[in-house]
Symmetry: C2
Subunit: 206 residues, 2 copies
């Protein structure tokens, strides 16, 4: 099995190489230090599996992965992560990575590699348990980008829980009319018509 290892910490790459090559059927073709090198090296060798750190300086592992998969859709990419970088997991999944496991977990690496080699996807179990909630929190709509203030966001969230203007005004210590005004501007900013559409929007963008 041919591998390429990418990690910005040379020590990590080298120890991985040593550990893995102790196994006779594994060959580490080359080692890279960042996303750019990952793309180049993949192009050069087209290894069976690409073992890559996710957070690196020059180019993140995700970007590199995307580029590689664009060119080689069948590429098998296994991400290494120091601790569970929650934010990246979904993206990695969505991108088409074959797995996501902890660096520390030396013994797991070998079987994981074999599994990936055979077309499976492998995830550390801590990660799998988190998956449902992670997916839920992904794809968040960026309200702030649309010029929506903190207070407006509060109101959006309360509407998305089904509260009436009156209830919202009480919770936020505002006049009911004020809440109505806020809602009015929110609707305008998001180009929606009424509170129900707002609730729908809220749930469809997350």
């Amino acid at each position: 099995m041919n591998l390429i290892i990418i990690d910005d910490d040379n020590l990590v790459s080298l120890s991985l190489k040593t550990i893995l090559e102790a196994n006779e059927d594994i060959q580490v073709l080359e080692i890279g230090r960042n996303g750019l090198e990952a793309v180049a090296l993949y192009d050069k060798h087209q290894p069976d599996v690409l073992l890559m750190d996710i957070r690196m300086d020059t180019m993140t592992g995700l970007d590199a992965g995307r580029q590689i998969l664009a060119k080689y859709p069948a590429a098998k990419i296994l991400f290494l992560t120091t601790f569970s970088d929650d934010e990246y997991i979904i993206q990695a999944l969505h991108m088409g990575a074959k797995g996501y496991i902890l660096k520390q977990d030396f013994e797991s690496l070998l079987p994981a590699l074999h599994a990936v080699m055979n077309g499976q996807s492998v995830f550390g179990s801590e990660i799998v348990t988190k998956l449902p909630t992670l997916i839920a929190h992904a794809n968040q709509f960026d309200y702030l980008a649309k010029g929506i203030s903190e207070k407006e966001l509060d109101i959006i969230e309360l509407i998305a829980k089904g509260f009436s203007n009156k209830e919202i005004s009480e919770k936020l210590f505002l006049g009911e009319g004020t809440v109505r005004n806020y809602l009015s501007t929110i609707l305008e900013k998001l180009e929606l018509r009424d509170r129900t559409q707002l609730a729908v929007f809220y749930y469809q963008n997350r």
Copy 2:
């Protein structure tokens, strides 16, 4: 590595056993034919990994898995499936299964087992790609169970898209008042107060 295999098709179990035991470090302790036997056999042997079909006659693999995990939280259960039984995947995940792979995929089985043995979770890649949508569609609320009719369901869906009563009445060729009446009874059945709460309910239960 000690295994127990559960499958209602004896032929499957036996061929699996043969294939796996060709590998010297694997022992199949015993074979079972349904969920009940799975629980009993797990109790008896407490194997390293339990390899189990998901859909079986007497007791489904999921139920068996749940019972086993209740008693042995560290149990490693790897589900086998004929084709991608979409409905079960989420449940299996949520239950704490260590994996979910296709029966046909003989070569994958061995590395998958080793990965599981080492604390990873393994999934066929077809399954991983589906995951996001699957999770979205899981947890569907059973409207029919609450005595909600087809037409009422239509209306719920339209409200959950943000349409007004007028718009709904046009789409459904009903009077606007009729739509209001329908909504009224829907709200009562689901113990909600207004259309916004209905939309919220809709999105939170799926």
